[in-house]
């Protein structure tokens, strides 16, 4: 595998421009193989395609839909962490043979793009994924969603939103992480209170409070569960403030900060796929879960591929993939994840805080205003 990589490189360095086209064919094998060995998503699904798409005995699409979907390339605009989205899409393409074009955007760029493109009648996305309920609602107000009831979704609690305009597929989890090269397991914090006890002064990281649905949930958790003084306690540790979760994760992996807020999925992928020395904890006060929504757009030109993608996301196989990445599946009949040897508590165990959509609307703005003020950030 490695040998192939080196050969590819040598050749390419000689022919940087002309060679790249030729590289594709040679490289794909090396590429695919390398990923399979280190991906967080393991195990093969049993896929049958003789009559529609059936994965592990569960029908994902009927024959007509699947046959049409196979000829399409799905366009996905996603606010989901790139590495996690790539892991899901890789599994989807492997299981279904349908190609996906992912445009990864930070939540607000996503909203701006969708609204502008929609306004001009040029929306390029077939499906959109976002973790921000308010953004999903904004998209709804703009009339950019197309109702699609995912088979089986109605059997689960608050999964299908506003009559299938968009669908909650999973919950991502915010917690505390640390760099294992800089912090011994015995010294690592075990609670949110530990983080602000002064020991990590100047070695802490955090993501700016207004970066999306993730920080909105974290802010609400801190305010309502850790007390109105918690922002101040955290800010007084002089943390490094990052613009996005990804940037903070990198800093933690490289050891620029020793401890910081992380997502479990991000930490998992970073540790397994990039061999980063990072680990997460399950704090005494609990984990913070936030919803991820997926919906089909009113402009979807590859609607069959979009349906297969939506169905796959909500299928047992798709939900298992999310669990392997490190997310809580929306389907409660799929087990919560065991990540890096840690069995996560059940989502209804009382150990997992989940912000309600009503809270997202009612408190989001005020929480952010306070966060910005306390951390000395933009108003």
């Amino acid at each position: 595998m490695k040998l192939k990589g080196i050969n590819t490189m040598k050749l390419a360095s000689k022919l940087p421009l002309i060679g790249s086209g030729v590289m594709l064919a040679i490289g794909l094998t090396a590429c695919g193989g390398a990923q399979a060995g280190t991906s967080v998503v393991t195990g093969a699904a049993q896929v049958k395609t003789d009559d529609g798409l059936v994965i592990n005995g569960e029908t994902i699409a009927d024959k007509a839909t699947y046959d049409k979907a196979k000829t399409e390339t799905l366009s996905l605009y996603s606010g989901y962490t790139e590495s996690s989205e790539n892991a899901l899409v890789a599994a989807f393409t492997k299981d279904t043979g349908i190609k996906v074009n992912v445009v990864r955007l930070t939540p607000n760029k996503l909203a701006e793009r969708v609204l502008s493109e929609k306004g001009a009648g040029k929306l390029g996305a077939d499906v959109i994924r976002t973790s921000d309920y308010r953004i999903a609602k904004t998209i709804e107000d703009a009339g950019a969603w197309q109702s699609y009831e995912v088979p089986g979704a109605s059997a689960f609690k608050d999964v299908s939103i506003d009559g299938g305009k968009f669908t909650r597929m999973f919950d991502s989890v915010y917690t505390i992480g640390y760099n294992t090269q800089l912090v011994k397991a015995a010294d690592a914090p075990t609670s949110w209170a530990d983080v602000v006890d002064g020991k990590w002064q100047g070695k802490l990281g955090i993501v700016q409070g207004g970066s999306g649905g993730s920080t909105a949930a974290l802010n609400r958790f801190m305010e309502s569960k850790l007390g109105p003084e918690y922002f101040q306690s955290y800010a007084s540790q002089k943390p490094t403030i990052y613009d996005s979760l990804g940037a903070e994760a990198t800093a933690l992996a490289r050891g620029e900060v020793a401890v910081g807020t992380v997502t479990i999925s991000g930490t998992n992928i970073s540790a397994v796929q990039d061999k980063a020395p990072v680990k997460f904890i399950v704090p005494k006060e609990g984990l913070v879960a936030y919803d991820y929504f997926l919906g089909m757009t009113s402009a979807a030109t590859n609607s069959d591929a979009a349906k297969v993608f939506m169905n796959y996301n909500f299928s047992k196989q798709g939900q298992k993939v999310f669990a392997q990445i490190g997310e809580y599946p929306a389907r409660t009949d799929v087990a919560p994840p065991t990540i890096m040897g840690v069995q996560l508590p059940a989502i209804d165990s009382g150990q997992v805080y989940r912000m309600t959509n009503a809270e997202a609307i009612s408190s989001g703005k005020d929480d952010l205003a306070k966060w910005n003020k306390v951390f000395g950030y933009t108003k």
Partner: protein, 597 residues
């Protein structure tokens, strides 16, 4: 497309006086001549208006509105002055202060480096001058975003290679790039090529007669440099100072990568943050952008005044051999200083990126760890190179850059020609509009352009054309300044002589003006090409899934925390730019101008 029309028409501009002397209905002929004279000017103004003014108007509308202009949502009814209250906030004032410090600081750093390199390269007897010319240009191959990423890899306080090395050596010191001086340093070294290029062309095209006259009249070298050379180089000095000041003040990627962790907010990062807040505060961002635009416009106008007061024609029909300054003992030290700059701006950053893209683990405990077997591998680079994303982005970037460079250079040439070679009244307006983007943060321009082209009934949104349009709009000032500086230095008599000797105006332009301006035009084309290859801030709102360019790919990877992928794409990105530059230079050098005398 439509750009070609004025090319055909502009020769008519100056040709009209000839036709006006014809006998007969003089008055109506004059009217026709007037029309013909103003026609190209009007077209150019119209193009520039759509390219520059319309996006700005939409941003301006957003600044005084409580809703964002968007297709189907251009509401003039909701005008408000509320956003202006934002400007007095401590954050906005702090960001403004930081931007001024950053702009001034990096302009000084860039000027010192650029002028120093230009001087030893163009006018001294230091060794390795050819290589020093390359050194002066080389950092242009490195996009500011990539440079900033590289320096954060090199010198972040805990995990930077330099600091790891210092720790390995037991030296108790930390070089922290995440600071105001760090930000100024990085911007200064990566914007020095602008100062260098302008200074170099000024110093090497300087009229030797003037200096010789000083020498003949007994002025020592020092006096000559002070009283003749320096004043002659003044427009280039002022020009590059204002240019670097404006460019660094509005620079977004470096401020984002280096300034953000340092807690140093500049206007562009503040604007960006407002844009990416939940929900986006485009209106407030636009109001700040308007103020920034107004402030930089004032600087631009002041600088234009300084230049227009004096005549700087230095290229005439006479021979030109600027005098060389002997450095004596300083020959090698000066060259070594130039090499040190090369290390800081190119060598170390590239090594850092290469190491980061090849590291098996993102965490490095000591530098020696990198030399252990299995610590480095080409697999990430290979993976990136063979990925569909990279290849598509590569193709897109090259196409966009070539398109933008061609269109931008043609537009710049016609605009400067109308301004400096015709008596058209529109010249001043053209120059003002062409220079305006200098004072507009590219990121704001990007949003304005997005709204503009969504509104116009031309289907360019979602194509590569809109990215090329953005590059032309954003970099027009640089292209225009480059072309017009070279036009200003050239005596108009040369072209007019050809016309007097019977050549048509078109022929005169093609056979006299263009060859004489070959260096200026080639370097403007190259400037457009390089800048477009590096463009990020405006494109970030204009790309779609199939039109991602390399800079977007790097920023996405960085933004998403994929630092190794970001480093790998960065390395390949620089290789592509270097190859493109070499090819372009080689093509440009093929057509040598005929000797003048």
């Amino acid at each position: 497309m439509s750009l070609k029309t004025p090319t055909r028409n502009s020769p008519a501009v100056a040709a009209t006086p000839g036709t006006a002397t014809a006998t007969g209905k003089r008055r109506s002929l004059r009217a026709v001549a007037n029309l013909r004279r103003n026609y190209p000017t009007a077209i150019i103004i119209a193009i520039l208006a759509v390219l520059v003014l319309l996006p700005l108007a939409l941003v301006l509308l957003a600044a005084f509105s409580n809703s964002v202009p968007r297709p189907g949502n251009i509401s003039l009814g909701s005008l408000t002055l509320d956003n202006l209250a934002f400007l007095g906030s401590p954050e906005a004032l702090g960001a403004l202060g930081n931007s001024l410090i950053v702009g001034a600081g990096s302009a000084v750093v860039a000027l010192v480096i650029g002028a120093f390199l230009a001087f030893i390269c163009a006018r001294s007897d230091a060794p390795m001058r050819r290589f020093i010319f390359f050194i002066g240009m080389a950092p242009m191959f490195i996009p500011a975003l990539v440079g900033a990423l590289a320096w954060s890899l090199l010198s972040s306080p805990s995990a930077g290679y330099i600091n790891i090395l210092l720790r390995d050596l037991g030296i108790d010191a930390v070089v922290n790039i995440y600071s105001m001086p760090g930000l100024i340093f990085v911007l200064g070294i990566f914007y020095a090529p602008y100062a260098f290029l302008l200074m170099h062309s000024s110093l090497s095209m300087m009229n030797a007669d003037l200096e010789e006259a000083a020498g003949v009249h007994g002025a020592p070298l020092r006096t000559m440099l002070r009283t003749v050379t320096l004043p002659l180089a003044l427009p280039a000095l002022l020009g590059s100072a204002v240019l670097v000041f404006a460019l660094t003040m509005e620079n977004f990627p470096v401020a984002q990568v280096i300034g953000n962790p340092a807690g140093v907010d500049t206007l562009p990062t503040y604007i960006y943050r407002l844009m990416s807040a939940t929900p986006a505060k485009s209106n407030q961002a636009a109001s700040i952008a308007v103020v920034l635009t107004a402030a930089l416009l004032v600087i631009t106008v002041v600088q234009q005044r300084i230049i227009s007061k004096r005549k700087f024609t230095t290229v005439t029909g006479k021979g030109n051999r600027p005098r060389q300054v002997p450095l004596r003992k300083l020959r090698w030290p000066f060259t070594i200083l130039a090499l040190a700059y090369f290390a800081a701006s190119v060598l170390l950053p590239m090594l850092a990126l290469l190491a980061a893209s090849m590291q098996a683990s993102p965490f490095v405990a000591s530098i020696s760890q990198l030399f252990e077997s299995g610590a480095l591998s080409f697999s990430e680079l290979g993976q990136v190179l063979t990925s569909h994303d990279f290849q598509l982005a590569l193709r897109n970037s090259v196409l966009v850059a070539i398109l933008a460079a061609a269109a931008g250079t043609i537009l710049s040439f016609i605009a400067s020609y109308i301004k400096y070679r015709t008596k058209s009244k529109g010249g001043t307006a053209i120059e003002l509009i062409a220079m305006t983007p200098l004072a507009v943060p590219a990121i704001v321009m990007g949003i304005g352009l997005l709204w503009t082209w969504l509104l116009l009934p031309v289907p360019v949104y979602g194509t590569l054309a809109i990215l090329a349009i953005a590059c032309v709009a954003v970099f027009l000032p640089q292209g225009y300044r480059g072309v017009s500086a070279s036009m200003l230095q050239m005596d108009q008599d040369l072209e007019d002589s050809a016309v007097m000797l019977g050549a048509s105006r078109a022929r005169a332009i093609v056979s006299v003006t263009l060859p004489l301006m070959r260096v200026g035009i080639t370097s403007s084309f190259l400037l457009f090409l390089m800048l477009s290859m590096r463009e990020l801030s405006a494109s970030i709102f204009l790309f779609t899934s199939n039109t991602r360019i390399l800079s977007i790919l790097v920023f996405d990877d960085f933004d998403n925390g994929q630092s190794q992928a970001a480093a790998a794409v960065s390395v390949l990105y620089c290789v592509v730019i270097a190859v493109l530059a070499i090819v372009a230079q080689w093509l440009g050098a093929d057509r040598k101008p005929k000797p003048l005398t």
